[in-house]
Amino acid sequence: MAESTSQEIIAQALGGSNEAIRFLVVQNQAFAYSVAYRFLGNSEDAEDIVQEAFIRLWKNLHKYNPEVKLTTWLYRIIANLCLDFLKSAYGRQRKNTVDVHPAVHHSIGSDELIQSNELNRWIQEAASGLTPKQKAVFILRDLEDLSVEEVCGILSMSAGNVKSNLYYARKQMSEKLKKYYQTSDKIRTI
């Protein structure tokens, strides 16, 4: 969505237009869900976080700074909600409830899809061993492809802190992936 269009829609949503609200949800909910799912690994919790994120977006829309991209703002809300969730007792209890058959968007053949799906699920499981902060930087930098500066802004962390967490996250993921490939023949062809 072009940023200028986004500004107009935000202005309309602030004016109470239900159509504008609906439009903003349609435009952003897929991306919001994808980020939340990567954090939490199951659709039920991810949907709850997305719903709460949009409610917070609404409540604070009057504080919206047009110089910040709406997606950056949503990233910030979702990442913080997910971090709080993961740190909570309930979140720690839900840590291993990764969906067995996640719904995914794909453009590849079915065999490759099954293998990639399996790898994806495995990455999800491996990432559940990271601390919430390590997980957040890994998702935002390596899976969402955001710049270090963007990650710093979203998580309110210094560049040094982001890089340090990223190093430990990559190291741990790398060690777990190595073990995974040593024990699994299924996706060796990927």
Partner: protein, 170 residues
């Protein structure tokens, strides 16, 4: 710089400046073990790249959208100061603090009532008879009992105040 110092740089290769990359590349061309580690990391990053191209999607986007819009419509008022206070009261620490203060007040009132009664040898029955759930009366009683501490040695202050109060409230 030794190999352990380069390990961090290898993991953070994407984040290095050009000058830092040059130094790291120079080390990699000389060091076989670091080169092996870098090769493995590149391979695994390629796998992550492949896996991340598959985006998780919502099972029923229409249902989630209806859920969000319905909740947003109910809560479309901007956050007020009252919400701030409410969320503050929701905080676990504040809840515990209020509980602790309440408990302290109850303990204080209990000690205050019973300790003085024991000193004066007033029977509990009399206290019950004289106590009415009216805080202004309680405070008046309390102040007067303080003022007349010296004079009421042989008289039960509760029966005295009760008779005084009953004339006022009637």
């Amino acid at each position: 710089m030794n190999c352990s110092a380069f390990e961090k740089r290898i993991y953070l290769y994407r984040e290095l400046t050009l000058a830092e990359r040059k130094i790291t590349d120079d080390h990699l061309s000389d060091c076989e073990s670091c080169r092996a580690m870098a090769a493995l990391l590149v391979q695994q990053q390629e796998r992550i790249e492949k896996a991340k191209s598959i985006k998780p999607v919502i099972n029923d986007p229409e249902r989630l959208m209806r859920r969000i819009v319905a909740t947003a419509a109910r809560k479309d008022q901007p956050e007020s100061q009252f919400d701030g206070i409410k969320s503050l009261l929701d905080h676990l620490f504040v809840r515990y603090a209020f509980s602790a203060i309440s408990l302290l007040l109850i303990t204080f009132l209990y000690i205050e009532t019973h300790y003085e009664d024991r000193l004066r040898g007033v029977a509990k029955v009399e206290i019950r008879q004289g106590t009415i759930l009216n805080t202004s009366n309680f405070i008046k009683m309390h102040l007067k009992s303080r003022q007349s501490k010296e004079k009421t040695v042989s008289i039960s202050r509760y029966s005295y105040h009760r008779s005084e109060r009953s004339t006022k409230t009637l």
